[in-house]
Symmetry: C2
Subunit: 336 residues, 2 copies
Amino acid sequence: MNLRDIGEFGLIDRLRGKLNPADETVVVGIGDDAAVAAYHPASHVLITTDMLVEGVHFREDTIDYRSLGWKSLAASLSDIAAMGGIPRHAVVSLAIPPAFAVAKLDLLYEGIGQICEAYHTHVIGGDIVKTEGPLVISVTLTGEVEQGRALLRSGAQAGDLVFVTGPIGGSAAGLSFLQSHQQSLVHPDEQSVLLNSHQRPQPQVEAGRILSQSGGCTSCNDISDGLASELNEIAIASGVGIVVEEERLPIAPAVRNFARLAERNSTDWALYGGEDYQLTGTLSPLAYGSLVNQFLMRGLELHLIGRVTEGQGVILRCRDGEEQRLQARGYNHFAE
Amino acid sequence: MNLRDIGEFGLIDRLRGKLNPADETVVVGIGDDAAVAAYHPASHVLITTDMLVEGVHFREDTIDYRSLGWKSLAASLSDIAAMGGIPRHAVVSLAIPPAFAVAKLDLLYEGIGQICEAYHTHVIGGDIVKTEGPLVISVTLTGEVEQGRALLRSGAQAGDLVFVTGPIGGSAAGLSFLQSHQQSLVHPDEQSVLLNSHQRPQPQVEAGRILSQSGGCTSCNDISDGLASELNEIAIASGVGIVVEEERLPIAPAVRNFARLAERNSTDWALYGGEDYQLTGTLSPLAYGSLVNQFLMRGLELHLIGRVTEGQGVILRCRDGEEQRLQARGYNHFAE
């Protein structure tokens, strides 16, 4: 079946059928000029948006369309998590080449439906248009957070501890694995870790909620552009320096093993790879004890990887005792 | 200057400088993982989104980039107007070809800044990415409306009056004018009417607010796809029929005159052209007298063009007394 057979409105009906049913926060969903949503009266509303372009952000040879649907919303869910918010309502727009297969769009929306179900989020609108260029996916997601509780980048203070909520470097390792010719040399369990890290990242919404409710988290970012870039943003916004210890970086054994096999550097993946969608940020030292217990009780991870200093910039203290300044070299569109 | 010279982050800094300053509803604007916005505790939040693709929605030979910026947000502002809401916060994402001139993006954001200023709206976030395809603009706009006051498509009842808030057909006439070879034959004043109708439409936010506050507006749509399509949506959603009188359609003299010159049909432009961004909908007959006074006092127009009947479908009663059924033949992506 192709798009000409079902047309714009047939496609919209078809795709909305893949989505999870609305809850009571959706007053008016897909189908009017605008959607109507209910938020708690004491909340501030969070808004974040991400655009993904085929050939730039994803390629058919390294991700299937169901995973792409998952990952398209994961990026925005992770932004809401990084603000300490509860994700609520998404609008999804697509620019589609006319010859694009409807079956691929079905899979895309199955993946969107799956992640919305997993994170109690709802797609309540969108726009579907034609393009002569590559597929473009635009996601805007709202969330809510108690007034004054949003986690910003700007509150880190000298003496604070630097945390990360889980393993990093896995997404870059997974992409490298998908593009390699050594796949058969990797144990199936480790293959799963690498694939899932790249294709099905898990935004840390629950961790963000614990951090925002604690009052002890002084800054927070999600790791979309790599740890080095995210920590530099915090250091600049907060006017502080940060020292990170290489030996404390949480890198999964599957990632270390594949790095060895592929003769790549797993620390580089962790620092510069991005798309891990863990949270990183800073904690008041007094808050750590209580926070780590809350994380443990819910089966979540909270790794300390460094500390905040006077001064500026982000320093990596390597295993051999050497120190190096970490530049914010995440992906820069138009730079290459 | 090109994009490689300033990079993604230089471009973001440059473009945010074109925007109007934030107001007190913007708690955290551009620059963190998500923006934070404050809404009135008794409000519902409205969300609408539109995607525009070069070559499909706009072309450089019929619109300048400043007007394109204006028009990109006008579509979304009109959706909020059609819900009876107050527009609040926008996020704007762009997929940009690498060779695209920065000067064009400057103009685009000047236009965005102008319409945000005019409608007391703020851009509080976005995403800027690279594409090998045409320029893509994605706008998501929020608004707020008092709980229970949103104007939907579904409340029209037999006996209601059908209204439109201003002249229609002007956008299609303006596009035809821009593509014609008869421009020098049109009086300069009428040229302005045609150009502004197409390039600088005025979303009817104030009219939408009066209608939602009155309690007498039983359904509402904005005219983005042409009157025929919008009234069909209302008829279907409300389970009613609608009869419209051709002689009552508010078509500007400039539009009628250019139709005559170009040997085109101005009624067709009004019914099927779209992008007029006036509101159309239905009123309880008892509400009309008070409403028309409020509109007049604020210098706004409120034209009655027909009535709601039992049955289904939309009928046009022509000047010659003939009746014809109006199909919803607005623009359908993928149909051509």
